[in-house]
């Protein structure tokens, strides 16, 4: 019951999905101890951050039917806010707070402007405009090198409590040093859990239901008396703010930020793949999609290397399974997903559970 309230009553509604979510939760929670080594912890932190980012994208796309190419722009604003604040004001908690606050303010203003000016137009037009704005922002970030470090980006120090230089305990636990880096991982993890729960609450609130009504039938929602532009703008602003917070977490974890890390178009494509494969309009889809995608990004290549070696005598197949072509397979999965399983893996699991009952 407690758990039900925590999840805002929006339960997984499928035994398999519940098992998968529990596995992901504990997998991420225990990563530093289950899979020692910097690579695994890095992957786990990235999964946590992308779960928030993808969920925030889902808030706009899946729940409101808004497709914005400017989503990574807000991700970048969050990351740059922290990066700039910490590198100019020094590695203090106050600087972190200022950076986060400033980033949220910028994101709020920008997303409001974009929303009010262009959410009245057709989805296609909105997509094109946001694509142009995002491109401009990316150019801006790489040009203002005095401010942003240009293409090289910014490396900076975070508060000492969050670095490996800060020992929490002189002992090690199962060979893992208990230091500030570990604390930083759990900070990211906890923040991701909290942000996801907040988003879950939002989509299951009366406000979230109106959003879904608008997505289903804008004309009708307008007729009932909802000011759809206001609701759509609210949704895209919220989506932008959560993306900004995901950017803050990213910068905090990496202690670095640059255009390719948080602003590139590739990231945009990646989150699109994650949300569709996981399941649009389900929130849980972001958890499944981000986990699957990032694990694939990091480990599918190893698997494909095996396949590619197996086909080493066959020219075309060899290239088809070349580890660098992992995106090809996810792309195909994505297209099949959009056609056959518009609600993604989560939708599929829920559907089969519903059919059984």
């Amino acid at each position: 019951m407690m758990l039900g309230r925590l999840l805002s009553g929006d339960l997984p509604r499928s035994r398999v999905l519940t098992a998968v979510l529990i596995a992901i939760f504990f997998g991420l929670l225990l990563t530093p101890f289950l899979f020692p080594g910097a690579r695994a912890t890095n992957v786990a932190a990235k999964i946590c951050i992308f779960i928030v980012l993808v969920a925030s994208f889902d808030l706009a796309l899946g729940y409101t039917g808004i497709f914005s190419f400017a989503h990574t722009m807000f991700f970048g604003i969050g990351a740059y806010g922290v990066a700039i604040a910490l590198s100019t004001l020094g590695a203090t908690w106050k600087a972190l707070a200022i950076g986060t606050g400033a980033a949220l303010m910028v994101a709020l203003v920008l997303s409001l402007l974009i929303g009010l000016f262009s959410l009245r137009v057709k989805a296609m037009f909105f997509a094109m405009i946001t694509l142009a704005v995002a491109t401009a922002f990316q150019t801006l970030a790489s040009q203002l090198s005095a401010f942003t470090g240009g293409d090289d980006g910014l490396s900076f120090k975070v508060p000492e409590l969050l670095t490996s230089a800060f020992p929490l305990s002189p002992h090690t636990f199962r060979g893992v040093a208990l230091d500030g880096k570990l604390l930083c991982f759990y900070l990211v993890f906890a923040a991701a859990v909290v942000l996801l729960l907040v988003m879950l609450r939002i989509v299951n609130s009366p406000f979230g239901r109106v959003l879904q009504a608008i997505r289903e039938n804008e004309f009708r929602a307008e007729a009932i008396g909802y000011r759809t532009v206001v609701y759509r703008t609210c949704s895209s602003v919220l989506s932008a703010l959560f993306a900004t917070l995901a950017g803050v977490l990213l910068a905090l974890w990496l202690r670095y930020n640059g255009p390719d890390t948080s602003l590139s178009f590739e990231i945009m494509i990646n989150i699109l793949l994650m949300v569709v494969i996981g399941g649009m309009g389900t929130m849980y889809g972001s958890v499944v999609g981000a986990t699957l995608f990032i694990i694939a990004e990091n480990y599918l290549q190893d698997l494909m290397k095996l396949a590619s070696n197996g086909f080493s005598g066959v020219p075309f197949l060899r290239d088809l399974f070349h580890p660098d072509r992992w995106l090809l397979w996810l792309g195909i999965l994505f297209i099949v997903g959009v056609y056959r399983f518009p609600a993604g893996i989560v939708g599929k699991l829920r559907f089969s559970a519903w059919k059984k009952s």
Binding site: M128, L131, L272, F316, D319, V338
Partner: protein, 341 residues
């Protein structure tokens, strides 16, 4: 058949004067004239202007299909860039087999390599367009969100396949010997290839205008952009028309890819995706669905990019978006808005 209709004077008067809207056309010379004093030297200005026109022509060839496809069926293909990439890579393969012809100083022999390369690129990309429309676009007609996603997915998979076939590294696309070098007009140097590109672009534009205004298919395309249902009610299958336009648009993008590749002389799999934003800006500036607007928009974008690239390189990176904002402030629906039903 007898005639008994009485003529009422009111039915005989034309309420509006016949007035062709030439204002957007004037933008191009106006922009060029404005740049003349700014660039400082006449010879630099000539060079920049031709560079801008050549770039604009290539963009027009690529974007024309995109704008018509949108006009006819509200289909915006975010994967249009794939056709550009593919065209360039096919040309590399064809020209690679005829390298002797390309390096020869004889124009004739050069053309014997380049013309087949362009034609084969158009045919191959047209065929890929055929498959793309059937597999990627047809199943999601009328669902804009899915369309954006699925066409982007198509581009991702397509670009990855290009990497599978040709490799992910950059490839050289050599400019034929007779096309390289410059012509001197006084002390103004104009690269030969830019001149050729400008001429080819003008020819494509003229051919397109001829088809759109003198053939029945062209009239149907223009009518379909305005009122799809009425075209169907008159007995024409608009789906077939759209299919044809899509394939032709893909083939033109392939041709544009060959020309763009030769302009850059190096090609990478991402070249098409990189130009996508520029294409959208051009078709928005022109007015979605308008070929004439697309032509003017492309030339403006090309000229502005080259002038600002010389005058203020930092501004150049935003010049296109700036241009789009200015034009939309003047005409929110683009230069030549298409009157929809």
């Amino acid at each position: 058949m007898t005639t008994t209709a009485t003529t009422v004077p009111a039915t005989d008067a034309l309420p509006a004067e016949v007035k062709t809207d030439r204002l957007p056309l004037l933008l191009i010379p106006a922009l060029a004239l404005l740049a003349l004093p700014l660039t400082g030297s006449f010879s630099t200005w000539v060079t920049l202007t031709f560079a801008g026109l050549a770039m604009g022509m290539i963009i027009f060839i690529i974007a024309s299909g995109l704008t018509l496809v949108f006009g006819l069926m509200d289909v915006l293909n975010f994967g249009h860039g794939l056709f550009i990439t593919l065209g360039a890579y096919v040309a590399v393969s064809v020209i690679g087999r005829m390298i002797g012809y390309v390096e020869s100083p004889s124009l004739m022999r050069n053309l014997m390599a380049v013309v087949p390369a362009m034609l084969i690129a158009m045919v191959v990309v047209g065929a890929v367009g055929f498959v793309f429309e059937r597999v990627i676009i047809r199943p999601v007609y009328g669902q804009p969100l899915k369309q954006i996603m699925i066409t982007m997915g198509g581009m991702i998979v397509g670009v990855e396949l290009v990497k599978v076939i040709w490799g992910a590294q950059a490839l050289p696309l050599p400019l034929p010997a007779a096309f390289s070098g410059s012509l001197l007009f006084g002390d103004a140097a104009v690269e030969k290839y830019r001149l050729i590109t400008t001429v080819v672009g003008l020819l494509v534009f003229a051919a397109m205008l001829w088809v759109l205004s003198r053939t029945k298919v062209g009239l149907l395309i223009r009518a379909g952009v305005q009122d799809r249902e009425m075209v169907e009610s008159l007995g024409y299958r608009i789906g077939l028309l759209f299919f044809g336009v899509f394939i032709a648009g893909a083939a033109l993008a392939g041709l544009g890819g060959v020309m763009w590749g030769m302009y850059q002389q190096t090609i990478v799999p991402e070249m098409g995706g990189a130009i996508n934003v520029l294409l959208f800006i051009v078709i928005i500036i022109g007015g979605l669905g308008s070929v004439g607007g697309c032509f003017i928009g492309a030339l403006l974008v090309g000229l502005v990019a080259n002038y600002t690239g010389f005058l203020a390189p930092k501004v150049a990176l935003f010049s296109n978006i700036l241009l789009m904002v200015l034009i939309l402030l003047w005409r929110p629906q683009g230069l030549y808005p298409v009157v929809k039903r």
